[in-house]
């Protein structure tokens, strides 16, 4: 197991490097100078040159890259071109709402998706049909439209939850934190819930047809224990894997929902920086998001390996 984790880490490190390189050079593709883009069309060449010098953009790209990478390794991603704030500070401050949203939504979809998929596969018939309908509907509703609907029903008509904003868990406590996240998490989860429920349904259908189910029942092991101990464990493996894959889309949804619910997270920061041509923040943001994906996939790898011993030898 330890060796397996080390092996996965060994794959993750070069992955981080490549992703960092991509996020750096993405911004290098800007036609013309970032300084010109920041200053706008009215700026004179002298002003542009001056800004370039002060931002260090006049150095060759490779030098800039090495500098940036060295800085990044020490947690320094440069300064925002617009506000002058260190990029890593700006990103770190925005981390909590984004992580809260993404993690809560992932846990919700995984838990509920497993239950729905299991019910559909085991009970079949009407339960199966109902799960397929709910899942299909969830997958068809754009999250931004669902968000508006939820706000209208559960914040405006029935003022149960705040329509926008965020409350710090550390300073304002669990209740306010959670109540600010209920609507965005629900809106974010609908699409993935359908995906996971369908995957879980297929995984349970597969596990229920395996010979060990018969072996265990033949030993007198009660049906419920076969189901909740053995079938559940086997079926969770592919479902957890898929949860890792859908995390990319969860992050995409986070950006949109942070905008709608006015959450001070990474997504909103990215959108603002995109609008103001704040390239250094965009650069750092791409890196942060990618790191989150790599980290989640690492967690998923470890989780599947601890569920299924066959994964460990791969």
């Amino acid at each position: 197991m330890t060796r397996y984790v080390l092996r996965r880490l060994a794959v993750a490190v070069p992955l981080v490097l490549v992703v960092a390189t991509i996020s750096f050079f993405l911004v290098q593709l800007v036609p013309g100078s970032p300084a010109a883009a920041i200053l706008g069309p009215t700026a004179t060449q002298d002003q542009v040159d001056a800004l370039e010098r002060s931002l260090g953009l006049d150095a060759p790209a490779t030098t800039q890259f090495v500098d940036w990478l060295t800085g990044a390794a020490h947690g320094d991603l440069g300064r925002s071109y617009v506000t002058g704030q260190p990029v890593s500070d700006a990103l770190s401050q925005a981390l909590a709402p984004t992580l809260s949203l993404a993690v809560l939504s992932t846990l919700l979809t995984l838990g509920l998706g497993l239950v729905m998929g299991m019910a559909a596969a085991v009970r079949g018939g009407r339960t199966d049909k109902a799960v397929q309908w709910v899942g299909s509907l969830g997958m068809a509703i754009p999250n931004f439209w669902l968000a508006a609907l939820l706000v209208f029903v559960l914040a405006i008509e029935l003022p149960l939850f705040p329509a926008t904003g965020y409350a710090e868990l550390a300073t304002e406590g669990l209740g306010p934190w959670l109540s600010h996240l209920v609507l965005p998490v629900l809106a974010l989860s609908a699409v993935n819930l359908g995906q996971i429920a369908f995957q879980a349904r297929a995984a349970f259908a597969d596990a229920l047809g395996r010979d060990y189910v018969r072996t265990l029942q033949a030993t007198g092991t009660p049906r419920r224990r076969v189901l909740f101990k053995h079938v559940l464990r086997n079926a969770s493996v592919p479902v957890v894997t898929v949860t890792g894959l859908t995390f990319i889309f969860t992050l995409g949804g986070v950006v949109i929902l942070e905008l709608i619910f006015n959450l001070p997270g990474l997504g909103n920061l990215m959108l603002r920086s995109v609008q103001t041509n704040d390239f250094s923040v965009v650069q750092g943001g791409v890196l942060y998001f990618s790191l989150a994906v790599i980290l989640v996939n690492l967690v998923v790898d470890v989780a599947t390996a601890s569920l299924d011993p066959r994964v460990r030898v791969r």
Partner: protein
């Protein structure tokens, strides 16, 4: 999404026959697709998609108003005669804006699909075919793609390219191409080693031709379906961009932007949300629905559920006697008049077909096993041996039901509910199944699985359970019990796994052990070891053993009584020595003649020509007549009852008297 693919009745349901999965008649997929496209729900979904495309194409002529024309006098009206869907906060007609707002989105969503196909298909084919280093490199690239959150990257691209939609869609296509690549690579790897591909390779066909002519067609079905779902995802993604105000001209209406405008007026004018919401949801739902319906037409390997239902199906009275063609055979009386340990009488196993009718696969089977004795169920595949064995434990796969009588130590098991049956299983009757390598749960160690069963039956402290677990492993002849106990099933050899399975079956100290082809999946040397083990366990524990086999060598080795099965019926029931020396049914004789052990050098091995008929093709007369060299017209007139032909010897043949006279009629027949 998968849907229920009915398993053919009478096949070894749930036994995961590879042949059933691989073989798919030519044209079956095309037929499935045609049927799918005729379903009303699919037609409605397709109709909606056509409507959306056509109205978007004809948005100009169809729109009652200019989508950009502001009319501040009629702001935020609900639906009216002039404005069928109402107006927005600048008085613009919503219907016209919706008609104009979909075209670019629908068109732009094609780009990512094309890009990911152009990248993913050739790369997947090549890497899947070549494998090796290329595979490792490609894996890394795909991992990078999977680590990039698409929306965030496209956001960055939008800054860099000053909101250039074509470039943004291409980048999105690149990011999602990893999925297509993996799909194509997996299918290519699967078809790479197919025989006809090998044949093409050997005959010198170039790699490109092999990939294009022989492998690509196999991948095409899943690809088309995946394309549909990918398009739906791309469409939703682009709508999100348009919602964020990215990539689309803010002057022109687009669907995401319409939602954005509506959210701004949510508290005062919620109606604005409704029309655009309906259009968006219906379009994505229709895309997903058609995609999933097509996905369901692809050949899949859905297995029948093996978990017993809480309420087992009961055969209707009318079906409880199977075909009811003959009366159940009288059972040989046990010694001293006591009932034998296990008695099966008039057992019928039926599966419910697609049309709701019950199709028998086991048709009135009767036999009995004494303590310390072995009864072998013999016959070719598809004769109902396994279903007979499973029915005694109440472990029929999904869709099966049993009737008749199964008595264990005098207790009737047919009709017991699942809870009562679970108490019988393991403690009084147990099972050893065919494929030991898949019979154990791969996620738990041997120690854990065996320990659970020991605890279930005996309870006791952890130390007791542990001791008993190790004892059981030693009992089944595992020398290094400690180490094997710590192992996981995938670390065991077939023979070792089968020993563990036998230990599992014995954990509850049953009286009767049902072994379904326990040695078939094993190497010949291991087979003998496992048979020896079963025999010695039977001697020491006094087990009544029911052994399913197609191998008369095994019968000769271990059996006391043999029940030869053909097409769901017992055709001959006899003491093993008698059966081997003087079989009274032509099928039994055919099986004996086909034993390779007795083959003479230089003389072709005799076989029984033809195959076992499927249950739906069972004739009403003698079921073996079509393959029988002795068959006469009399054999084809009506059901053949089983007759007592000697003490403990029964045969289901009207010419059984002739076979008894020592005539070897088969020899005069000649091979057909």
């Amino acid at each position: 999404m998968t849907t229920t693919v009915p398993t053919p009745v009478g096949q070894e349901v749930g036994a995961a026959t590879p042949a059933a999965r691989a073989a798919r008649p030519v044209g079956a997929t095309a037929r499935a697709v045609r049927q799918t496209l005729r379903r009303p729900a699919v037609l409605i979904a397709l109709g909606w998609l056509v409507l959306v495309v056509v109205t978007s194409l004809l948005a100009g002529p169809l729109s009652p108003f200019d989508p950009l024309a502001q009319d501040l006098g009629s702001r935020l009206q609900g639906p009216t005669a002039a404005h069928l869907l109402g107006t927005d906060d600048l008085g613009r007609d919503l219907l016209s804006r919706i008609l104009h707002g979909g075209g670019v989105l629908l068109l732009a969503a094609v780009v990512p699909v094309l890009v990911s196909y152009l990248l993913g298909v050739p790369a997947g084919l090549l890497v899947g075919y070549v494998g090796g280093k290329a595979d490792a490199v490609a894996d890394f690239v795909v991992n990078v793609l999977f680590a990039i959150p698409a929306l965030v990257v496209v956001l960055a691209v939008s800054v860099v390219t000053d909101n250039n939609l074509p470039i943004m869609t291409v980048v999105f296509g690149v990011v999602v191409s990893g999925g297509i690549f993996r799909l194509v690579r997996a299918s290519t790897q699967a078809s790479r080693d197919l025989l006809y591909v090998d044949a093409a390779r050997v005959s010198g066909v170039t790699r490109t031709t092999i990939l294009a002519r022989h492998i690509l067609p196999n991948v095409l079905g899943p690809l088309i379906v995946q394309g549909f779902l990918l398009y739906s995802g791309a469409f939703l993604f682009l709508t999100s961009l348009s919602f964020l105000g990215l990539g689309f001209d803010p002057q022109e209406p687009s669907w995401g932007q319409l939602v954005f405008d509506a959210t701004a007026k949510l508290d005062t004018d919620p109606w604005l949300m409704v029309p655009i919401g309906v259009v968006l949801i219906a379009t994505v739902a229709a895309l997903n629905y058609v995609g999933n319906a097509l996905l369901a037409t692809l050949p899949s390997s859905r297995r029948a559920r093996l978990l017993t239902p809480t309420r087992r199906p009961v055969l209707p009275v009318a079906d409880a006697h199977g075909t009811g063609s003959t009366a159940p055979a009288p059972l040989p009386a046990g010694p001293g008049g006591d009932e034998p340990r296990l008695v099966v009488e008039g057992l019928v196993v039926s599966f419910r077909g697609e049309d709701g009718r019950w199709q028998p696969v086991v048709d009135g089977v009767s036999f009995a096993v004494e303590r310390g004795r072995t009864l072998c169920l013999v016959g070719e595949s598809g004769c109902g041996k396994t279903m007979t064995a499973l029915a005694t434990l109440g472990l029929l796969p999904e869709g099966g039901a049993a009737a008749g009588s199964v008595r264990l130590g005098g207790q009737e098991l047919i009709g017991l509910d699942e809870k009562a049956m679970a108490r019988v299983r393991g403690s009084r009757i147990a099972l050893v199944s065919q494929e030991p390598m898949v019979a154990l749960d791969p996620c738990f160690s041997v120690r854990s699985q065996l320990g659970d069963v020991v605890r279930l039956h005996r309870g006791g402290s952890r130390a007791d359970v542990r001791t008993r677990t190790l004892d059981l492993l030693r009992l089944v002849g595992i020398p290094n019990a400690e180490r094997v106990g710590r192992s996981f099933p995938h670390q065991l050899s077939g023979g070792m796994a089968q020993r563990v399975c036998i230990a599992l079956a014995l954990a509850g100290e049953p009286d009767v052990l049902v072994a379904d082809e326990p040695t078939t999946a094993l190497d010949p040397t291991i087979q003998a070891e496992i048979l020896d083990l079963l025999r010695s366990l039977q001697d020491s524990l006094g087990l009544a053993l029911v052994l399913v086999t197609h191998d008369l060598g095994v019968v000769a080795d271990i059996g006391d009584t043999a029940a030869v099965m053909y097409a769901g019926q017992v055709v001959e029931l006899a003491p093993v020595e008698e059966l081997l020396a003087a079989p009274r049914h032509p099928y039994s004789r055919g099986l004996l003649d086909a034993m390779p052990e007795d083959a003479e050098r230089g003389v072709p091995l005799r076989t029984v020509p033809g195959v076992v008929p499927l249950p739906k093709d069972w004739p009403t007369h003698c079921r073996f007549a079509a393959r029988c060299e002795l068959a006469t017209d009399a054999c084809r007139t009506g059901p053949v009852p089983i007759e007592v032909v000697g003490p403990d010897h029964q045969s289901r043949c009207i010419r059984t008297a002739e076979t008894a006279r020592g005539v070897h009629p088969v020899a005069t027949g000649g091979q057909s």
